[in-house]
Symmetry: C2
């Protein structure tokens, strides 16, 4: 048998059979009535997931395209912005703003840690003129979940008019998100994360404050233009030909997600993440993320002394067909990352931990066989919230 | 039976079963070896179709994203460019350049006509400082095919160093394209046209001259950045998560296209287009495109006097399940468009012409029944070049 792979990376994530099948529907006219229904259905689902009554836009692009869209539609060259970076993707968000001429002030948090609300508050006190704050919800590169509601609160206290632009590409559905209640202006997501859909679509919520900013935002844009996209939204269309097949898939994925329930989906992610962390700890491995702010979507694990993460990942892949992710940049020699978002089951987590145990043993590290799996079983034996 | 639809629009186009099925393959790691093979295979196929030995880049986006990429990676704000517009998509290309601050000089050709090489030569004589010319290969909105090799020749005579940027989104594979031999600098294509693949991918060839220009091009960019994309190309990856499922589909579509042969695919398009034109003429309808420059991909037809194109298209759709496209902008009340590119057969063309005959009769226009189909049959009865 060829390797039956377990895709445990933080995106693209495994896609359910029903969604894969939905991709294969015959092509339709993107200016016809069938498409209009498709787009309406999908956007209603995305709004429900986002907990927003505002506009949600959809673009054919990777999540990075969505980040770019959030910047170029709300800012002008020279605008002072505060980029709160806690890892590689926060870094990318800052780079995008700089590439389009924003005056980027930075609050660089050491990788592995979350942004402290007091530090953000202090940064805004020192930079009262910033008109936007760039935040990462879940930092995929380090496995850290920011305390988004707390950060949004201090931003609203210090800078009531500042835009809050949020990279939640790997956050939405893996962690709570209350777009309207937390007063977030643009929240960017990507189809290939907890949405159980292949990559190629990015979604953005746009608040009234963001639309207001859009009216005077002078950064150049065309493909990602919000205003043009909103015009076509009235006809349930997009200005440019959308990735129809991916929207077919997303509609099916949203059906599955809404049947499970948005809150239940988030609780499932929390539970899986707890099991992974318990298993890893039982194997004597340390986490990269600060305690209490670990991601529900991806766990960054420090490789044991004397074992290169790359070697460990190779055994996991070649011997056990478990696909994991490396660390970003210079962290490649220190950590590896286990993704557990989207269509991932308790069984997948248990199999991954078992493979990790065997891999560590093969690499000469003695750990009590079954310890990691047993620890995860302990988490899974707890009644789920629905049962409790 | 619910309507078995015939999708006769100039994109998205019908997708073969094998390609639809290929979309449904399980997700893979976009940083792993399987993906590297996929990207290598696909780019080799695209290069073969383009007749280029240069670089080809791929972005997750609609074709319009590709047009934007061609501009922002090769130009700086203030750069004088000549936009040769012959329809709505040429207009869009000019708008993109203007949105990013290019100094756009225009050669506006009346819609329905092709650009005369002498007119382009004269425009360059009057504007010797232009550093790029924006051309449309096949103008989807009006059904006109520009004489791309002739245009490229006069540009090279007048402005040897100017970049030739080409929108060939609906041109590639429906009309001859010799990227290297015609010395074209960037040629933009889109997966949902003659490539028989769903929408969501755009391809761009990049000449040495374009790479040279890229070094000093100052228009802001991030998602669509050529240089960053080329860096990752060395690892057979993209900088940002690509639409893996669509690449699975494209690989299968390229297999079908290369099995048929690039030249044979183009000849098929020419043959289908001739049959459509013969059929339409036999029904007494006039074409919108100038004689001799009609597109092989889409035929723009003038609605007969007294019949609104919208009404005609509604009968075609509701009674016969043949989906056609309207005219762009103010032409909506004058023309309708029949797409015949990609996975379209002689049978599809015959059925469309038959439906058009019945529609005209239903709308009170007398035409000899079967005349349109008979005329198309006449074209199909000619030996194909392969048989001749």
């Amino acid at each position: 048998m060829p390797g039956k792979a377990l895709l445990m990376i933080p995106g693209p994530t495994p896609v359910p059979e029903a969604v894969l099948r939905a991709l294969s529907q015959p092509m339709i006219n993107h200016r016809g009535p069938e498409y209009a229904t498709l787009q309406r259905d999908v956007l209603a689902g995305v709004r429900e997931v986002y907990h927003t009554h505002g506009d949600v836009l959809i673009f054919t692009a990777s999540g990075t395209g969505g980040l770019e869209a959030s910047v170029v539609n709300t800012l002008s060259p020279g605008d002072p912005v505060l980029a709160v970076t806690i890892g590689a993707f926060g870094e990318r968000y800052a780079q995008i703003a700089a590439a389009y001429g924003a005056n980027v002030r930075r609050l660089d948090v050491p990788w592995g840690r979350a942004a402290a609300p007091e530090a953000v508050s202090e940064a805004l006190r020192r930079n009262p003129e910033v008109c936007a704050v760039l935040l990462t919800h879940n930092e995929t590169s380090t496995g850290v979940l920011n305390d988004l509601p707390a950060l949004a609160r201090v931003i609203r206290e210090r800078a009531p008019e500042a835009l809050i632009l949020v990279d939640s590409i790997s956050g939405v559905l893996a962690a709570p998100l209350e777009t309207d209640a937390w007063d977030l202006d643009v929240v960017v997501a990507g189809s290939q994360k907890a949405w159980m859909t292949p990559p190629g679509l990015t979604f953005l919520s746009v608040s009234e404050r963001a639309w207001q900013a859009n009216r005077t935002a002078k950064m150049p844009r065309f493909y990602f233009d919000f205003a043009r996209t909103r015009q076509w939204l009235k006809k349930d269309q997009t200005p440019f030909t959308p990735a129809v097949s991916l929207l077919f898939g997303l509609r099916e994925a949203l059906r599955l997600i809404l049947a499970e329930g948005v809150d239940a989906t988030i609780r499932r992610h929390i539970r899986l993440a707890r099991a992974v962390r318990a298993g890893v700890a039982a194997l004597g491995l340390a986490l990269f993320a600060e305690t209490g702010r670990e991601s529900n979507a991806v766990t960054a694990v420090r490789a044991p002394a004397g074992i290169a993460p790359r070697a460990l990942r190779r055994v996991l892949r070649e011997r056990h067909h478990v696909i994991t992710a490396g660390g970003p940049g210079s962290l490649e020699s220190e950590i590896f990352r286990i993704g557990h978002l989207g269509y991932v089951s308790e069984g997948d987590v248990l199999a991954t931990l078992a493979a990790l145990e065997m891999t560590l043993a093969a690499l000469g590290r003695t750990a009590p066989a079954g310890a990691g799996v047993a620890a995860a079983e302990g988490v899974f034996a707890e009644p789920s919230e629905a049962e409790a």
